[in-house]
């Protein structure tokens, strides 16, 4: 059951209604049942995995909190890490590792075939594993009191709006809110509904529309031209943002209607002036998770520069791997690591250059150049993220830097399926997205957000979105969200 399905349109209102109607003691058990049902609709047989992860981590967190013996604490933390990462590695990386090792052996002259298992990748495993681990680690650090009620803890792990694709919530934020009985308020209803609508718009009216043109290039790179690759990559940057942030918006909206505030996961990432800033605006829950549980424990930037650069490299390497079991994701992570390292090392020289030119670093022309350069760098990295294999990524590089320029733009657009109507639709949807994104804020602080909250025509927007949705029904209504594969 994905968010963009008729089943969810039936499921969610029932759950929300029950949440407000049921007495306090029954609210969270109902949410727990609903969350497991939501997950079972994807893969009923794999609910045992999320249950098992929840059980192990709950036992570990309670033992850790009840003992003063540091060895015992470390033992149970280690057990949790091994079990959770073990399950994650097995389901997600076993075939990848097997294929990679086999490839290396064959390269060295051996003749072995890869041992592969037919494994169903559990939906959301990367997300709920990290969420579980953050809980246990926070208990170990003494930052959070463990939850004594197993079933309540299970709700924290499996809360359905953010279960399969984040945001990766922290116990300090989500647990108190789940415990508090929320009453329906018009403000929450409208703001939650606003987030959901924008999310559906991003997913259905932008991401799904653009995906057709992106796939036309990336699923046939041999026939693609350099111009086509550039257009498709820029469109992919928009697609993945709309797909992922659209999901997050829907998740935030679903929770907000019930009075629960999930954390912000995106903050206009493509307005970033540096790659470092990009990562403070993109998939915020994951980047803060890596900062708090990997980067800082490794030493962060409070060590000598070579070690600090190494720490950055490790974090982005792991981040790339987290996204998928493919060398393209690893390369994508490494590219971002290189960006960060070079960016950090060259900050003094860049600032010095700007000062010598005599322009303020915060002036509009400099800000525009920095945003443009950052966007280009991020898009270049997206090539590896989107490419199906390393070989195809190599072909793309070759076309971009040598052989792919002997085509006309009109021929490229025709090859991608971009006729006049398609270009108009793509342009309109992206421009509308930009305006909508600026008007709708997560913190509801800016005055312009009042336009959609208070304006009578807000209801009107609902109808427009629904019609666009209905008309797009024939275009693969049940398309999945990109980040479900992680």
């Amino acid at each position: 059951m994905t968010f963009n399905s008729w089943e969810f349109l039936l499921f969610y209102p029932i759950v929300a209604l029950l949440y407000f109607v049921l007495p306090r003691k029954l609210k969270w058990p109902m949410l727990l049942v609903a969350s497991y049902y939501f997950y079972a609709c994807y893969q009923a047989e794999l609910t045992v995995l999320i249950f098992g992860t929840t059980l192990i981590s709950w036992i570990a967190s309670n033992i850790i909190s009840r003992t003063d013996n540091k060895r015992v604490k470390k033992l149970w933390l280690s057990i949790t890490l091994i079990v959770c990462f073990g399950v994650l590695f097995f389901y997600k990386y076993f075939n990848f590792l097997s294929g990679s090792v086999t490839g290396v052996i064959n390269m060295l002259g051996g003749e072995v075939s890869a041992f592969e298992m037919k494994l169903l990748l559990p939906v959301g495993i990367s997300f709920y594993t990290f969420q579980t681990l953050s809980y246990v680690i926070d208990v170990y650090r003494g930052e959070v009191e463990p939850e004594r009620n197993f079933f309540f803890y299970a709700l924290f792990v499996s809360f359905f709006p953010q279960l399969v694709a984040g945001p990766i919530e922290r116990p300090g934020n989500l647990v108190p809110q789940l415990k508090e009985p929320h009453r329906f308020t018009v403000d929450n209803g409208i703001k939650g509904g606003k987030h959901m609508l924008v999310g559906f718009f991003k997913k259905i009216c932008v991401a799904d529309l653009i995906s057709v043109y992106v796939n036309a290039v990336y699923n046939d790179v041999e026939s693609a031209s350099a111009v086509g690759i550039i257009i498709a990559t820029v469109l992919f940057a928009v697609q993945i943002y709309c797909d992922f942030s659209g999901y997050t918006d829907i998740a935030i909206g679903c929770a907000r209607v019930m009075g629960i505030r999930l954390m912000k996961n995106f903050d206009h990432p493509y307005t970033a002036k540096t790659v470092k800033e990009f990562w403070s605006r993109w998939h915020i829950s994951l980047s803060t998770w890596f900062k708090d549980y990997l980067y800082i424990p490794l030493g962060g930037n409070r060590c000598k520069k070579p070690r600090a650069m190494f720490n950055i490299f490790v974090v982005f390497l792991v981040s790339g791997l987290w996204h998928g079991a493919n060398w393209t994701f690893v390369i994508w992570g490494v590219v971002h690591a290189i960006y960060q390292i070079i960016g950090t090392l060259t900050i003094p020289y860049r600032n010095s250059l700007i000062r010598r030119i005599g322009i303020s670093p915060d002036s509009l022309p400099i800000a525009f150049i920095r945003r443009t350069v950052t966007f280009i760098l991020v898009c270049f990295a997206w090539i590896f993220f989107r490419a199906n294999t390393v070989g195809e990524a190599g072909i793309i590089m070759e076309k971009l830097f040598s052989t792919g320029w002997n085509v006309t733009i009109s021929g490229t657009l025709t090859h991608m399926g971009l006729d006049t109507v398609a270009i108009a639709m793509t342009a309109l949807s992206i421009i509308t997205l930009v305006m909508l994104d600026r008007m709708v804020t997560y913190e509801d602080e800016r005055d312009t957000s009042d336009i959609l909250v208070r304006d009578a025509s807000f209801v009107y927007l609902i109808w427009i979105i629904l019609f666009a949705w209905a008309l797009l029904l024939s275009k693969d209504m049940m398309s999945t969200f990109i980040y479900f594969q992680f």
Binding site: C205, D447, I451, D455, I464, I465
Partner: protein
Amino acid sequence: MSILETPLVLVALCVMLTIHIATCFTPKLVSKILTYVNMTLHIALIYPLMYFQFDIDEAVLVYMISVFVFVGSRFAFSNIVKRREHTDDI
């Protein structure tokens, strides 16, 4: 047959877009009435679009233009709309 060659659809679209922009400037009660009229127009437009079996991309484009003008008009005239609105939505 293309939507761009169909006077009925073009006229309906022009009316809908005009109402989008007009609701930014009209008094609140008139704005609400116009909103409901426009909602009805949007619903009603579905039927000729389906009856004449227009290309689905062109049909979607009509609604996308409507969404674009709706959001754009509010974006462009945000200060005017904000000053005019004082109470909750309908």
